[in-house]
Amino acid sequence: MPAPATPSLTVRVLLFASYAEALGFETLELTVPSPATLSTVIEQLRALPGGDQLPLKPLCARNLAHAPAEEAVAMGDEIAVLPPLAGG
C-alpha cells in the first residue's frame, strides 16, 4: 500500500509595491503542507529568490482583512503580504 499523501492546501498569494518588486511577481498560487498558518506561507515566500527582502513578520491580510501571523489558512484563501501602509 502506498504511503498516504502528505495533506496540503493551495492559497493565492498577492504581493504589492516594494514586495512585488523584490520578488518579481504580484500573484502566485502557493501549495503548503496542511495545517498551515500565515507564518507558513511567509516562510515559503522568504525561501524564494528575493524573498529575503520580506521581513520575518510582514503585515498580512487573509481574504481581504488584516490577520495575525498565527492565523490558520485554508484551501483557496487569498493571502496578501502588505508593505508598510502609506495611505492618507
Partner: protein, 141 residues
C-alpha cells in the same frame, strides 16, 4: 468602487452626501500631496492600492465610526499619479453634535492611515523614486 477612486476628489459632493436638515455640523479633512518629504522636494507621487481590501477596510472604518458616534460619514481615497496639491484623501462627518463630528472625522483619517492597504511611490526633484515607508521615520499630516 465606493471609497477608492482614480478620479480627482472634490470635497463638496462628499459634504452634500452627509449633510441633512437635522445635522448641524460637518467636520471634514483633506489630505493633500505635499511638495516635500523629510526635506526632499517631491514632484509627484503614485498611489496604488490592494483595491478589494481597501474598499472593505474603508467600509469597516466608516461602519465603526458610525457605530461609535452619532454621525454620517463620507470617505474617498485617490489612487494613480497625483501632483503636488492634489487631494489624496477626503473625509466628512456630519452630526447634530459638533464634538462628535470632529471626533469621528479624526478617527476615520487616523484609521485610514493605519489600516487601509495603499502605498505611495514618491518622485523626488533629484530624480530618485522611493516607496514611502511611514514606519521608518516620523511622518506628519
Amino acid at each position: 468602487m465606493r471609497f477608492v477612486t482614480a478620479d480627482p476628489i472634490d470635497l463638496a459632493p462628499l459634504i452634500a452626501a452627509v449633510q441633512a436638515p437635522e445635522r448641524g455640523g460637518v467636520a471634514s479633512f483633506l489630505g493633500l500631496v505635499r511638495n516635500h518629504h523629510e526635506g526632499r522636494g517631491v514632484l509627484r507621487l503614485d498611489y496604488s492600492a490592494y483595491g478589494p481590501m481597501a474598499e472593505a477596510e474603508c467600509g469597516r472604518i466608516v461602519a465603526e465610526a458610525e457605530g461609535r458616534w452619532r454621525v454620517t460619514i463620507a470617505l474617498r481615497h485617490r489612487v494613480g499619479t497625483l501632483a503636488v496639491g492634489d487631494v489624496a484623501v477626503a473625509a466628512a462627518a456630519a452630526s447634530a453634535h459638533r464634538e462628535e463630528a470632529f471626533a469621528a472625522c479624526r478617527y476615520v483619517i487616523e484609521e485610514v492611515k493605519r489600516r487601509v492597504p495603499i502605498w505611495k511611490r514618491e518622485h523626488y526633484a533629484d530624480g530618485t523614486v522611493v516607496w514611502v515607508d511611514p514606519t521608518a521615520s516620523l511622518q506628519h499630516a
